[in-house]
Symmetry: C2
Subunit: 94 residues, 2 copies
């Protein structure tokens, strides 16, 4: 594949996985904060559902273009968002 | 390019841009909420800086693999995150 920025294919993959790692890292503090506080009232259920939908759409795209970084980033974000969705229901006030 | 899910190349692009659109949409409510409340105290500066870094890394990756959806999603998220960063400083309590 031609390469606009003239970076070797291996380096492109490394850069992609770095982006994937950083994206995953940004979601971890939210899950940790929600787990610690046992409070997710400020998190919009619509936001969570849109994120779940978007990660599934990105996964189809990632598999179609054979992009490991796109697939891995969206798998992690999907997993963490499903954890938030679980919190949203299990932490519900009685 | 071969295609794991047997989706036409045009459809793959549409799916990618749908993912890109959904990702952009998820960030808009946060920017709107912060702008309305004039309050960004709960937003971690580290989180914002990691998101900025990750979008730049993804942009390099997106340009390298010629992925319009990856480029557009990360341009929008970078822009919205820079707006949050601006809020973070302009809304600072005296």
């Amino acid at each position: 594949m031609t390469n606009l920025l003239d970076i070797s294919p291996n380096m492109v993959e490394y850069i992609g996985y770095l982006g994937s790692f950083l994206t995953s890292v940004t979601f971890v503090p939210q899950v940790y904060k929600s787990w610690q506080s046992k409070s997710v009232g400020d998190l919009s259920i619509w936001m969570i559902l849109i994120v779940v939908t978007s990660t599934i759409v990105w996964l189809v795209y990632g598999f179609s273009i054979h992009s490991g970084p796109v697939i891995s980033a969206n798998l992690v974000v999907l997993l963490l968002t499903l954890v938030l969705l679980y919190f949203k229901y299990s932490f519900k006030k009685p």
